[in-house]
């Protein structure tokens, strides 16, 4: 029985261009207090454009209504649980939004005089220190714009360190359970990637690792707990194997929500790691970004951190560019400062009590796992931490796959869990509730998943054609990829092929 949601009228809304009417405007400027200039005269006729063809013209309320209606077609953490594994969709505290908008911080220009930027520099310094304490590492950079960008920075530093020791080496080892950004990053920095298999308990196979670790290996990229939610119990041995052959260990910190306040990566031998501030540290996902990827390093890598770095001179902060071994800049300016403010606000809110948040995250995940184990096949029997992974084997016997179950979950009022990842599990269902979900919300989720499991037994076709109650039914991703239409055009401006494609796609679906 579906308890969490009921049907409701939701507004329709066309695209901006379709509700545009010539002559309208949603924002007005004050009158000029200086003489106007003739653009064509000052810039040259050939440098001045005609009007921006088909750009929308809409009044203020219509713009506000447009986006408000669009927002009603979305789900959000503010509405309910997102059980997405490794995404850590926790509450985005509203106080973070308030402090990020304080004028002195929001209107600071990156090039304004340092003596007028001490507040901003203090934010960066305080967050660096707090993250170093939480991770047990020696120094932190907040320059990277996102997790993958942080990975790039970390591997770049590893390469620089190894070059200073004689040569960058050739390979990076990546467990087969790793997130796709890991091998993509390694390849971008000129390394070949070698996969290390997981053992039957879902952890890195030590024998395979020992065999692969040689003087060609620059580093191992590891996630701990791994993407199955399992803590790598041999992590100290794993780090030792790499260090013994002269390599380093990079940790993908996406799962830090299982560790904060309980254990520190710096203590178990990690040389460099990134943190996703939009995961453990509560900064909002915003529909896909912005994030921020802090990178924490051990002493050996500190000289290679991106420039500039904050330095204390007397009672002031200054930006120090005198870093001869730095890998350089990975982006313009200092980092996603607005995101850093939010992350610092989060850290201040928990303080040394962050341990309780982590314990609650573990409790929530294990509670859900235990309730679902009778109905879904758990991928590996090992204890899991803040997330758990099932496979769809049992349901696949009825022809229902993880993607179908996920779509049916939408009818029950939840966003789906992570589908088909990690790749080492057949038909994976990866679930991470986070600590900010109440027992009540979790019970509704568990009831939904159990109900769907029963539906799979009694009426698999129902699950396979879900969802039914969303604005759009299942979307044709195949046609979207075969005939990509990635912008709006006035009908007259569509190429004959495009018009034909849209017509065909439309009619083929209706007859299906």
């Amino acid at each position: 029985m579906i308890q969490k949601v009921s049907p409701h009228i939701v507004q329709n809304e066309p695209l901006l261009f379709e509700r545009s009417t010539p002559g309208k405007c949603g924002c007005e400027l004050p009158p000029l207090d200086v003489p106007p200039v003739d653009a064509q005269q000052v810039l040259g006729k050939e440098n001045v454009r005609d009007e921006i063809e088909d750009f929308p013209e809409i009044s203020e309320l219509e713009v506000l209504r447009h986006f408000t209606r669009l927002s009603s077609w979305n789900y959000g953490i503010d509405l309910g649980l997102y059980p997405l594994g490794s995404c850590t969709m926790k509450y985005n505290p509203r106080v973070n939004e308030v402090v990020a908008r304080l004028e002195g911080l929001a209107w600071a220009h990156p090039y304004q005089p340092e003596e007028l930027s001490q507040g901003a520099m203090e934010v960066i310094a305080m967050l660096e220190q707090a993250l170093a304490e939480i991770t047990g590492m020696d120094a932190v950079t907040l320059q990277p714009a996102a997790g993958a960008h942080g990975e790039f920075t970390g591997i770049l530093m590893i390469r620089a360190l190894l070059e200073s020791r004689g040569g960058p080496r050739k390979k990076i080892l990546v467990p087969d359970s790793a997130h796709g950004t890991n091998p993509a990053t390694a390849a971008m920095i000129g390394y070949t990637v070698e996969n290390i298999r997981s053992n039957e308990r879902g952890m890195v196979d030590l024998e395979a690792l020992a065999k692969a670790a040689n003087e060609d290996v620059a580093a191992l990229m590891i996630t701990n707990p791994n993407t199955l939610g399992i803590f790598e119990e041999n992590i100290q041995k794993i780090c030792a194997i790499l260090h013994d052959c002269g390599g380093l260990v990079y940790m993908d910190g996406a799962n830090m929500n299982a560790l904060a306040g309980i254990v520190r990566p710096g203590d178990f031998g990690i040389d460099v790691m990134h943190l996703n501030l939009h995961k453990t540290f509560s900064t909002p996902h915003g529909g896909g970004g912005p994030g921020a990827g802090a990178v924490a390093v051990a002493k050996s890598l500190t000289p290679f951190l991106p420039a500039p770095r904050l330095k204390r001179e007397g009672d002031r902060w200054v930006w120090n560019y005198d870093l001869p071994q730095s890998v350089g800049r990975v982006r313009a300016f200092y980092g996603n400062f607005g995101v850093l403010v939010r992350a610092l606000a989060y850290v201040l809110a928990h303080g040394n009590g962050i341990r309780q948040a982590t314990l609650d995250a573990l409790l929530n995940a294990n509670y859900v796992r235990a309730a679902l184990e009778p109905y879904y096949d758990i991928a590996y029997p090992s204890p899991t931490m803040h997330e758990c992974v099932f496979s769809d084997d049992r349901q696949a016997k009825k022809g229902v796959r993880t993607g179908d179950i996920a779509k049916r979950l939408i009818d029950y009022g939840f966003h789906p869990y992570t589908v088909s990842f990690p790749l080492i599990v057949r038909g994976a269902l990866m679930i991470e509730p986070t600590e900010t979900e109440s027992k009540r919300e979790l019970d509704l989720f568990i009831d939904a998943m159990i109900s769907i499991a029963k539906e799979v037994e009694e009426n698999p076709e129902l699950v396979k054609k879900a969802p039914y109650s969303t604005r759009t039914r299942r979307v044709d991703e195949v046609t979207a990829a075969r005939r990509p239409i990635v912008r709006w055009r006035r009908n007259e401006n569509r190429t004959p092929q495009q018009a034909q494609d849209v017509k065909e796609a439309s009619s083929s679906q209706v007859t299906a």
Partner: protein, 132 residues
């Protein structure tokens, strides 16, 4: 779908149909079924050399990409332009209209080490059982 007896097959699920010095190459029905709805086919330009056992292109579905491995070596003389507009042809008719490239064989004797249609059908029969 049946596997034409005049074709030769690889364990990576490609086929080649030899006609004198030339070969037409494609992927098998088993392969297209495993891949699901194909959305894009990435093929080499005419004139490019391909080498037996090495990847010469890729096939994309919505959620995955697969390399295509050359069953024989040679130089590409023609590619199937139809697949650019209609990649779904590879799903509908993988042994016919969904052909990928035509090559001029550089080592015609490579064909003898490929599987016959009977051997290939036996091979995929075993694969299907292993997966179940």
């Amino acid at each position: 779908m049946s596997y034409p007896t005049s074709y030769r097959y690889t364990k990576e699920h490609e086929w080649v149909h030899v006609d004198g010095d030339y070969g037409t190459i494609g992927i098998t029905d088993y392969a297209q079924h495993e891949l699901g709805d194909i959305v894009f086919v990435d093929l080499p330009q005419p004139g490019k050399q391909i080498t037996k056992g090495q990847s010469f292109g890729s096939v994309e579905s919505v959620k995955a990409v697969s390399d295509i491995f050359a069953p024989v070596s040679g130089s590409v003389i023609e590619i199937n332009e139809l697949l650019k507009q209609r990649p779904e042809k590879l799903n509908d008719d993988p042994h016919g209209e969904g052909w990928l490239v035509k090559v001029k064989l550089s080592h015609p004797d490579e064909v003898t080490s490929l599987l016959s249609s009977a051997e290939y059908e036996e091979y995929i029969g075993a694969e299907k059982t292993a997966k179940a």
